[in-house]
């Protein structure tokens, strides 16, 4: 899933203060799972903004809506009636959602309420971790299903580096050393032999380094 975090309210206010009517729109998929932009957070932010303007003695019309996916037109259509009634849309979608709304509602300013962070998993309630960088050529099969690109701070393909201590990363003891995880996992499944081989430089052209990417499937097109 895409993991995101709500921006500070002061930063949001700076971007929306110029508008008199605001439609706060949540996205009930990825960013709901990470408690950043789902229905709950949409209500929370709308209420917080109301209180914030009340405290400052300013008048604003603040409405809210939540759709299942801000990155798919069929769902975006769900707010088609509400959007024209407001000067601005404050999106609690990820970066993809914000831009999809802007593509559909061409004459409407769309403001992000979240900082989109990473592709990750819910490790436990309240803890989300990054484990995929979307490099475009998954090599997890060689590394015991632990990604050296996403989970090593230095993206080492021939790790670990000299800073790994007690299974922790040198840059922050809160971060588990990705290479320590790789070695332990391969050891556990009896495939440590996979690490003896030199791993050549990564072909980053399939990652964002190759420019903005797209996938086209003729069989899926209308």
């Amino acid at each position: 899933m895409i993991v995101a975090e709500l921006k500070e309210i002061d930063e949001i206010r700076k971007m929306i203060d110029r508008y008199s009517s605001i439609l706060v729109v949540g996205c009930d998929s990825c960013v709901a799972e990470c408690a950043a932009g789902g229905a709950r957070e949409t209500q929370l932010l709308a209420a917080a903004l109301k209180l914030s303007y009340l405290k400052d003695g300013q008048k604003r019309i603040i409405s809210e809506a939540c759709i299942d996916r801000q990155c798919v037109d069929d769902f975006i259509d769900g707010i088609a009636e509400k959007v024209p009634e407001h000067e601005v849309v404050l999106s609690l979608g990820c970066g993809a959602g914000v831009q999809a709304l802007a593509r559909v509602y061409t004459d409407k300013p769309i403001i992000p309420a979240l900082n989109t962070l990473f592709i990750g998993e819910t490790q436990m309630r309240g803890v989300w971790v990054e484990n995929c960088l979307g490099c475009g050529q998954c090599k997890l099969g060689y590394f015991g299903a632990v990604c050296p690109v996403a989970r090593c701070s230095k993206k080492l393909m021939n790790g670990p580096c000299g800073g790994s201590k007690g299974g922790r990363c040198e840059i922050d003891p809160e971060i588990p050393c990705g290479w320590d995880l790789i070695i332990r996992r391969l050891e556990a499944i009896g495939e440590l032999d996979r690490l003896g081989e030199y791993v050549p430089p990564v072909n980053w052209s399939t990652s964002h380094s190759g420019g903005p990417r797209r996938v086209i499937r003729e069989d899926q097109k209308p």
Binding site: S153, K154, K155, L156, M157, N158, G159, P160, C161, G162, G163, S164, K165, G166, G167, E170, I171, D172, C177, D180, I183, R184, L195, G196, Y198, V199, P200, P201, V202, W204
Partner: protein
């Protein structure tokens, strides 16, 4: 001889080789570098020129190598993959060689979060092993990454670092083997304080036949104060300083601590010299380069005959 490197020549001669680290200045003042370089001249076989170490912006390693070369030093260009992609790294290998550099030490580098440019993008296009193989393949096959032939491939003597003290411990010597297979002609280790652990590492390396294939230079860093010892033990990544060394420094009166630190370094040099497979030492006297001659003399290692360095 694979190259024209004077470091290779010294190592091949079988004598106990000494390299030392020389950190370029935080700025463009080359006089600082020249002063440091002069204090080392005649005492060492080659000088390691660090590449923005601990991610602090400093004079470029290639430029500093060239300046030290003009002084009469045999420079070892340290290169980290943190700041440059493969285009820039390979280009700098060409340039450095054209300026007379004959040795390169391939490193990944400390993460940018340690330095004074914490907001920088970490490049990490290659890792240290891949850079090592790149420099090796330039020399052996005359190609760059991707296999394209080049005009005048740099004939570099290629080194790598290894940390015998990082975790997982048993993995360190396996990784050393990987580096040797990728083409490491020489290895410089992390600073050694835990001699027992280093002896185990060397025994493992000998068992795997790695000391036959590469030259291992043992890293030594003199401690200046007990504060430095504590700082390195707790704050510097991949450092293993046994508690008894720290308490030995702590028990020493403040004004005598530098002297004690040097004594420890000298003892370390004497001990690693006796370990089979150790080809020499790599002295990293951080911002203390002028102490190198004194340490070497105390360790019974004389200065280098003129003409070698």
């Amino acid at each position: 001889m694979k190259t024209e490197s004077l470091l290779e020549k010294a190592l091949e001669s079988g004598k106990f080789v000494v390299t030392a680290e020389c950190g370029p200045p935080k700025g463009a003042d080359k006089e600082i570098l020249i002063k440091k370089g002069k204090s080392l001249l005649g005492w060492i076989d080659a000088v390691n020129v660090t590449d923005n170490q601990t991610a602090i912006v400093r004079m470029s390693s290639v430029a500093a190598c060239s300046i030290l070369k003009q002084l009469g030093h045999e420079p070892i260009l340290q290169m980290v993959t943190r700041d440059r992609n493969r285009i820039a790294l390979q280009s700098d290998l060409f340039g450095a060689y054209a300026l007379g550099v004959r040795n390169v030490l391939c490193l990944t580098g400390d993460h940018q979060s340690f330095g004074n440019q914490k907001e920088a993008a970490g490049v990490f296009d290659l890792d240290s092993v891949q850079l090592l193989k790149t420099a090796h393949d330039m020399r052996e096959s005359g190609i760059i990454i991707g296999g394209e032939a080049i005009q005048g491939p740099p004939q570099l003597f290629v080194g790598a670092a290894e940390n015998p003290f990082a975790d997982p411990l048993d993995w360190r010597v396996i990784r050393l083997g990987k580096k040797v297979r990728a083409g490491a002609d020489f290895i410089q280790t992390q600073c050694i304080y835990n001699l027992a652990r280093f002896e185990t590492f060397m025994a493992q390396a000998r068992d795997m036949g790695l000391t036959e294939k590469t030259y291992i230079l043992a890293g030594v860093t003199p401690l200046k104060t007990v504060g430095m010892a504590r700082y390195m033990a707790t704050k510097v990544a991949g450092m293993d300083i046994p508690e008894e060394l720290i308490s030995r420094m702590a028990k020493t009166p403040k004004e005598k601590q530098a002297e004690e630190g040097i004594k420890i370094a000298v003892e370390t040099i004497r001990r690693v010299k006796e370990i089979p497979g150790v080809a020499g030492i790599h002295l990293m006297a951080i911002e203390w380069e002028h102490m190198v001659p004194e340490i070497l003399q105390a360790a019974g290692i004389g200065n280098r005959p003129a003409g070698v360095a």
